[in-house]
């Protein structure tokens, strides 16, 4: 199955990229602003906005959105493994 033909990935229009960038800037602003409002808000913003930003980068800048199920599945596996590791460690730290 070695492919000899020239191949390249999906093309994402600059327009889309710039819009994603604007969204990222806005989210960063929001995140920083919320940290000045109150501690609880800051924590919630961190827990929601940060993954959202990362998700945008993954989906658009890194073209994950346009990839096949194989790569998507792999990314899902890797991320869940990390989350499970951290979660299971808290079985100890959280309940000691």
């Amino acid at each position: 199955m070695t492919t000899m033909e020239r191949e390249q990935g999906h093309i994402v229009e600059p327009k889309v990229l710039v819009r994603v960038w604007l969204a990222l800037m806005a989210l960063t602003g929001l995140l920083v602003a919320s940290s000045f409002v109150s501690h609880t808000l800051a924590v919630w913003a961190m827990l929601t906005l940060t993954p959202l930003k990362a998700w945008l980068v993954l989906q658009f800048f890194m073209h994950l959105r346009y990839e096949g199920p194989l790569l998507k599945g792999m990314v899902l596996v890797a991320l869940s493994v990390l989350v499970i590791f951290i979660g299971m460690m808290f079985l100890d730290l959280g309940l000691r």
């Binding site: 492919t3 961190m46 990390l82 951290i86």
Partner: protein, 200 residues
């Protein structure tokens, strides 16, 4: 990475993603430590974080996000056959990476001047937990900085290759993979910002 005359676009990309996973897990270990220690010493982390400049952290975030945009634009440009433009975007990405490093160096320098560096007497004298915060801060931003440095080197080479036409429309997986690397470095910083600078 593939042998001359035999190139497997999908294979190269799968390989790159697998490599990104290892980067993710490398920092993952540190995130694990961070979350563990923050849950053990919430107050201390809160307090220590006030010693970091939100302004510098935020500016650096904006710099890195923008550089990520440039990297993505560079890829689109080369895919559409605009090599010269792509080389420019790639170069700019690397340049912003340097800006990021300069700001980081300034920030670290200020800390050092104030006697806050790994193993310093001041850090050792801090209350329990705050020293940990700074230990993690230097380790994580330091390791991240090294990745930025590697990325800058990589992208500079890419800019050359694109200019020379070695990487061009239809054969740009090298640039694509470099951009992927750059984005993951960006993603990691996206998490570092709130964990360190906004924890106060």
């Amino acid at each position: 990475m593939s042998e001359a005359g035999h190139s497997d676009y999908q294979g190269a990309k799968i390989g790159m993603w697998l490599f990104l996973f290892t980067e993710l897990m490398l920092f993952g270990g540190l995130f694990l430590l961070y979350s563990g220690y923050r849950s053990l010493h919430p107050e201390a982390f809160h307090h220590a974080s006030q010693g970091l400049s939100v302004l510098l952290g935020t500016v650096n975030t904006l710099v890195l996000l923008t550089s990520s945009l440039f990297a993505a634009l560079a890829l689109t440009a080369v895919q559409q056959g605009r090599s010269a433009e792509s080389a420019r975007w790639t170069g700019l990405t690397a340049a912003l990476g340097l800006v990021f490093l300069l700001i980081k160096a300034f920030e670290w320098g200020m800390k050092f001047l104030h006697g806050i560096y790994p193993g310093s007497a001041l850090v050792k004298a801090l209350p329990q937990g705050e020293g940990l915060f700074f230990g993690l801060y230097f380790t994580m931003t330091g390791l991240h900085g090294l990745h930025v440095l590697a990325g800058v080197a990589l992208l500079s080479v890419m800019a050359l290759l694109v200019r020379r036409g070695t990487v061009a429309q239809g054969d740009c997986v090298l640039l694509e993979n470099s951009a992927l690397y750059w984005h993951i470095v960006d993603v990691i910083w996206i998490f570092l910002l709130p964990l360190f600078y906004l924890a106060a």
